[in-house]
Structures are given as structure tokens and as C-alpha cells.
Symmetry: none
DNA sequence: CAATGACTTCACAATTCCTTTACAGTTCTC
DNA sequence: GAGAACTGTAAAGGAATTGTGAAGTCATTG
């Protein structure tokens, strides 16, 4: 069964980006925008993991942990800004299992999540293979097979293809795809995606001038062909 | 059939780490978080070995042993903190088979487990040998053979190779590999893994500049060749 | 307590990847 | 069909990641 992850941060945009990414990875995501709210939700929903911003209004992350630790030992990953590196120590002493420094890339956070969940005894990851037509994408092995042949993709290419294949037929805007690979790191230039798509097509399409898998939706974005 | 090991400690995190490690080594692990709970579980499940923390709430390790010894002679390995060195003597007098001082590294504990189980007349756990291509790794003998020749690996190198070979084709992040060799991950520098990998490659690859076994997955981690 | 080996950290080199730019090609709108 | 808007693409500089030798630290052994 899918693991439930509670994401707590007052930056709604960040929460959305993380949510989209984790859901695409097969996790069930619930959200809260401050510590107080998070406490109630954690009680009711009993998530398998909590991702927690240190800096928040109402009740900050450290305060949340002090309360929460009294009633549960759910693993916690802290999000900290660079300058707050002291919080890191405090956080780990208060019982955080790991921390990630903002801004971070989704794949970075994912690596931490996997490690923490595995440490917490979960050897059962989510369904790790996506298949569509002649293409098989394996998230565990980070490999892509086209017509039985392994194709080497860069991290960004892999993330984009992974996003597209997670919902064949659905159109992803460039911004969404950018979020997948950059997170909230910085506002990037959307056209960067075009270049990744070009390179992706060169690797997985039989004829990149008449793509069968990655279709362009004029004025909107890209989508993976549904069969 | 796989040996069953009961791990008893009130530090859940520690139990999880030990569990993950032992399961990877082919043991079946059951858990308890205090002495009272452990007594019931030991009765029902009849583990082949018990790993027992001395300091615990409710019923501590020594108390547990007094009760347990009346009904069974399951081998017991004690976990003690440094300061409790007196407990060690008491524990051994009460019938512990060995003890390990906290904090310990997983392989340290593993060595004790093997020794105790061997002494108790048991044979090896399942799947003690991993083979792939020209490489054979023997977890029992702690040996590695490449093209029929024995190769000397350091403990860390052995653990990393063992992890990688346990799931060929799966990518392990540096964080995960750090977990394998350190037990606790958030402290420690991920790039340390790079150095171990370099040294490993020098020992097992025919051409370490074009590795056939240990592949780098850029931006993600390392994996044992999938073919 | 010296010596050996293992582990970690650091600094820099080597490699791979990402982004941006500029322009060409395509699709849409009127 | 012309112009505007959008997309495809090649190339180059810069950023990020990995490889590696060496020094320093720690633990173990003789």
C-alpha cells in the first residue's frame, strides 16, 4: 500500500511542487501549512513520514516536533534554510531523522525519503516500473528500455520522461516539468524544457521529427502519447 | 530456512537499522520494544537468537534474562552502553552468550551473531553467496572471488559490494550506502562513498576507468551492472 | 606505544550535464 | 498568405557531479 507523507510548510507553492512530485512517485500526500494544523492532521491521519519546514508562522517546526514526539515516533525530515544551519543540530537532537537544505531539488528530497523509510523498516517501495508501448521506465534502477535496449538518460531527461509517463495522455506545461527537475530552487527559463525534450526525443524516438511518444501540444506543453 | 532473530530495544530507530541490516543478510527479524513484550514474543515465536538492550523501561534486559532463562536457552547477545560495563559482567553471569557495546556498527553485531549461532551448532543463514558475472561474494566467509582469484576487501568495501550485489540493476544512493556501512546516516559525508567505490573498482574491475561491474549513475548513485 | 591498516576529508582534475542564446522552422490567427 | 506566436535545434559557456591522489584521523594490532 502506498506510504502517506505529510508535508508541512507555509510556502504553498513549495508544498504543491513537492506534492506533485511525490504523488507521481506513488506516495499519498497530505498537506498542512503550519505547525498547529500539522499536529491535528498528524494525529488523525498517522502519516508514515513527515516533511517539515523549520521556519513557519503560528508554530514552527521545532516546536511542532516537541509536541509531536510526545505522542508518536513518525520519522521526520526537516527543511531548513542555509542560514539556519544551527537549527539542523537542534532538529536532529529533537529527533529529526534527516534534513534537507532549501532550496532543494525534488530528487534530492526523494533520496532522503527513501533512505529514511528504508531505515524505518520499509523494504517495500512503490511500483517502480512504468511501461507504455515499447518503452519501459524503471525508477529503482533508474533505467529506460526502448525496444529491449537500454538507453542512457541524464537526470533531467529521466525526470521529465518519468513525469510524462506517469500520466500518459495528460498534458504537462513547461512550468510543471521545470518544477519536477528544479523544485523551488530558482525560477528558471521555461524553454529549457524544449531542449531536454529535443534530447529526449533523439534518444527514445525512432524518428525524432515525427515523434510517437512525446507529443507537442501547441501553446500548452507536452504529453506522452496514450495508446 | 532463515534464522529468526528477536531484537529488543526501546530505541525504535536502532531496532529499525538493525532489522534492515539483518534482513539484508538473510535473517528473519522480529522486534520488541521492552522486556515484557519480548518475553511474550520469545515464547510464541521461538527465535534462534535474541539481541537485547540492557537499559530499557518496563523491564530491563537483565530482568528479562532472569525470566527467560527459566524457560529457554536461546542464545542472547547483550547491547550495553559504555558506562554500563559492570552490566556486562552481570549479564555474562546471567547467561548472555556475548555482548556488544553501543554504539556499534552493523557488521560488528553481525560478526557476533554468526559466532554465537555457530557456537550454538547452527549452520549458515540462507543466500550466503552472491554471484554475478565473474564475481562471487560469500557473506559467510567474508570473501570475494574475481575470476577465480580471492581479493582482499576492507570491511566497508565488502559491505558496499554486498549491498550492490544484493540487487543488481538497482541504483543505491550514496546515502543508502552510507547507511549500510555506518548504521546511522545523517552524520557523515556522502562523498566518502566515492572513495570506497574508487578503491573497490581498483580491486575488482579489470579496467577501473571503464568499469564493468560497478556503474555510476550520474546524479543518483551507483549500481551493480544489470546484465 | 609504535606500527599498520582503514576510514574520512580535502583539493583539484576530469567528466558530464544544464542553461542560455540565436536563429530556423512550424503553427496559428486574421 | 503575412505576421505573430510558438517550437525545434545547434552550439557554447558555465554549473554540477564524479574521479582521484594525498594528507589527516581513528582504531586495531603486535
Amino acid at each position: 500500500m502506498a506510504k502517506t507523507i505529510l508535508v508541512v510548510d507555509d510556502e504553498k507553492r513549495l508544498v504543491s511542487v513537492v506534492e506533485a512530485y511525490l504523488e507521481q512517485e506513488g506516495y499519498h500526500v497530505i498537506k498542512a501549512y503550519n505547525g498547529r494544523e500539522a499536529l491535528h492532521i498528524a494525529r488523525d491521519e498517522k502519516p508514515d513520514l513527515i516533511i517539515l519546514d523549520v521556519m513557519m508562522p503560528e508554530m514552527d517546526g521545532l516546536e511542532f516536533m516537541q509536541h509531536h514526539r510526545k505522542e508518536s515516533d513518525t520519522p521526520i525530515i526537516l527543511l531548513t534554510a542555509k542560514v539556519e544551519s544551527d537549527d539542523r543540530v537542534i532538529g536532529l537532537e529533537l529527533g529529526a531523522d534527516d534534513y534537507v537544505i532549501k532550496p532543494f531539488r525534488p530528487r534530492e528530497l526523494l533520496a532522503r525519503i527513501r533512505a529514511v523509510l528504508r531505515r524505518a523498516g520499509e523494504t517495500r517501495p512503490v511500483a517502480s516500473k512504468l511501461q507504455s508501448g515499447d518503452i519501459t521506465l524503471d525508477r529503482d534502477g533508474h533505467t529506460v528500455e526502448v525496444s529491449g535496449e537500454y538507453v542512457d538518460l541524464t537526470p533531467s531527461e529521466f525526470d521529465i520522461l518519468s513525469a510524462l509517463m506517469s500520466s500518459p495522455g495528460r498534458v504537462f506545461s513547461r512550468l510543471e516539468l521545470l518544477d519536477r527537475i528544479q523544485g523551488t530552487a530558482y525560477e528558471g527559463y521555461e524553454r529549457t524544457i524544449d531542449v531536454h525534450i529535443k534530447n529526449l526525443r533523439a534518444k527514445i524516438e525512432h524518428d525524432s521529427r515525427d515523434p510517437q511518444y512525446i507529443k507537442t501540444v501547441y501553446g500548452v506543453g507536452y504529453r506522452f502519447a496514450r495508446e
